[in-house]
């Protein structure tokens, strides 16, 4: 319990530091951007008015406080590029709102795929040590890890979309219209994100299993007459999966990064695509919120992995 409290304090501190970093990076370093927002319509009066409106005249600490309290209350600021109507800038919250679920589901599906495929694969691989399959897996996973997710996405589009026609490339189905269809389309981008990570995780699990199999308790279990099945699934696998949980937590960041790129390949209207287009147009308030959001998600996932690890490993839970 004390551990949990300590971790929570660290979590909040980290989130605070990240928000300060994002604020500094996007609101202080770029300086006065009023001219670039107004573009050709800039006049001194308009600039002064906008500057006042965006709060550029306040000292940084006040600006940070205003910004962060706004963010916490759901007021995420306003986009510089998208407008709602002639004289009103688009609130970032509205811009992001319906894009979040797309990215979230993509990441969730990817993680599911990774877990479902890599665990049996890792177990099978470890069992086949020294046989031909061992070498085959080794070559396959090495290669899979070298394929960038966007190229994999293109390959998936070609194979499943154009040759096999299992889905229509670019034919994204909104989750609001048809949730099953949405997941059906999403499975292909998720596959592109997942394959290199499946290779990594399977490799990691295989090594973890082989390390466990040479430990004393395995010899003891065998000498007591336990079958190979029982040794593997009753003893070794459970122990070998422990580091894999941490490993999965560690690659969450990469899965999120992979999703950002893969959204572009499949034309998914998620936050990754918005992020890229906002970077191209230098729409900093949108980039700022998205970065803050993605970072926060990654930090919270690390936090949860720590907690889960603590819960499933009885050896470190009662200190």
């Amino acid at each position: 319990m004390q551990y949990f409290g300590k971790k929570t304090v660290t979590l909040i501190m980290t989130l605070f530091l990240v928000s300060v970093a994002a604020f500094l990076a996007f609101q202080i370093i770029p300086g006065d951007v009023v001219g670039s927002i107004l573009g050709t319509e800039a006049t001194p009066e308009r600039e002064a008015k906008l500057r006042e409106e965006l709060g550029f005249n306040d000292p940084p600490v006040v600006r940070y406080m205003n910004w962060i309290t706004g963010v916490l209350r759901g007021d995420l600021g306003k986009s510089w590029r998208y407008s709602k109507s002639m004289n009103e800038m688009m609130p970032v919250a509205e811009l992001i709102g319906d894009k979040l679920p797309v990215t979230l589901w993509l990441a969730v599906l990817s993680v599911l795929l990774i877990v479902i495929v890599s665990v049996p694969l890792g177990v099978f691989w470890a069992k086949s040590r020294g046989r031909a399959a061992d070498a085959v897996f080794s070559v396959l996973t090495q290669t899979a890890m070298a394929v960038p997710s966007f190229f994999l996405g293109i390959l998936v589009t070609y194979l499943f979309g154009m040759v096999l026609r299992w889905f229509t490339p670019g034919g994204y189905v909104s989750y609001q219209d048809n949730f099953v269809g949405f997941l059906g389309y999403l499975i292909f981008p998720a596959l592109s994100v997942a394959v290199p990570k499946i290779a990594m995780t399977a490799r990691f699990l295989r090594n973890s299993l082989l390390t466990e199999m040479s430990s004393d308790y395995v010899r003891t279990a065998r000498s007591k007459g336990a079958t190979e099945q029982r040794v593997m699934y009753g003893h070794v696998l459970r122990n070998a999966l422990m580091p894999v949980v941490t490993f999965l937590g560690m690659i969450i960041a990469e899965i999120v990064a992979g999703s950002i790129v893969v959204e572009q390949v499949f034309g998914l209207p998620g936050v990754g695509r918005l992020l890229i287009s906002s970077i191209s147009t230098r729409d900093l308030p949108v980039v700022e919120i998205l970065v803050l959001y993605i970072t926060a998600v990654v930090i919270v996932v690390y936090f949860l992995v720590d907690i889960v690890y603590r819960m499933i490993d009885p050896r470190i839970s009662h200190k």
């Binding site: 070298a146 960038p148 070609y158 960041a253 970077i279």
Partner: protein, 287 residues
């Protein structure tokens, strides 16, 4: 620590003579061909990379155009050579920058420790946890896109991983017997750092250089694919892929050529890294 222990803990690269190391040889072959192709591409390409030809649009691979032609009738092989060149060039600069900075910061923090070490470590911990491509995107969005900013931001983003590895090696070696003896003999601090310790961390360091190189290539091509890295008219593998995607049905070879080149380079460097690790004194069980 006894003398024997410290001796065995100093890893040494046993040279390239080691025979039973397929990783090293296959890795060398793959990276060698890629680098050679890219180097040749700087000076000579089979066809012009910009000459367009309406008659030769979307030619399938043939002896005249081994990788086929693209939507403007340009020779894909020539463009892949150029693209691989700029991708490898950018990643080399990135690795050079971040590796160099990593050695200096890692050496100082690892050897001296103390408050500075603590601060730097918290910082690298924070950076290491995040998707590198996201951080690079953040820097690009602040600095603006373009080749220079791409190199700068990737260089900064990759530095912490080098700092971490160099630091842990310096911590491992700073109390080794030969170092304390050198210290007793009155060898200067800088000399200890860079003449006595540094050469002994190279085998570990080279492995991380290979990994860094791979990450650099993946990040560069990913960002160029997204349109925020290298921009046309500069050829880049990522940018070619994003072009090719539009003509996937018509000319699948257009996407395959740059894509497989990336896979070839990345696979080559990761095999090379594995090979170096296996040929260094460090026992490896395939991890």
């Amino acid at each position: 620590m006894t003398q024997d222990e410290s001796r065995t803990k100093v890893y040494r690269l046993k040279g390239l003579k080691q025979r039973g190391n397929p990783y090293l040889w296959i890795g060398l072959f793959m990276t060698g061909t890629a680098v050679l192709m890219a180097l040749v591409g700087f000076f000579w390409t089979p066809c012009s990379t910009t000459a367009m030809s309406a008659a030769e649009r979307f030619c399938a691979p043939s002896p005249g155009h081994p990788f086929g032609t693209d939507n403007f009738g340009r020779d894909i092989l020539s463009r892949v050579m150029k693209g691989a060149g700029s991708t490898i060039f950018i990643s080399s600069l990135v690795v050079f920058f971040s590796g160099g900075l990593g050695i200096v910061i890692g050496a100082l923090t690892g050897y001296f420790g103390g408050l500075l070490d603590e601060i730097v470590m918290r910082f690298t911990d924070a950076v290491n946890g995040f998707p590198s491509i996201l951080l690079a995107l953040v820097m690009i969005s602040i600095l603006g896109s373009g080749k220079k900013n791409l190199i700068l931001s990737l260089g900064i983003v990759f530095t912490p991983s080098f700092v971490r590895i160099v630091r842990s090696e310096f911590i491992r070696l700073r109390d080794a017997d030969y170092i304390s003896r050198a210290r007793l003999m009155g060898v200067g601090r800088l000399r200890i750092l860079f003449v006595h310790i540094l050469p002994n961390i190279f085998s570990t360091f080279w492995v991380s250089v290979m990994i860094g190189f791979n990450n650099g290539i993946l990040a560069e091509s990913g960002m160029s694919y997204l349109g925020i890295g290298v921009r046309p008219p500069d050829a880049s593998l990522g940018e070619m892929l994003s072009d090719a995607q539009g003509y996937l049905l018509r000319a699948p070879w257009y996407a395959l050529a740059p894509g497989l080149t990336i896979v070839w380079i990345v696979l080559g460097f990761s095999l090379l890294g594995e090979g170096i690790r296996q040929s260094s004194g460090e026992a490896s069980d395939g991890r």
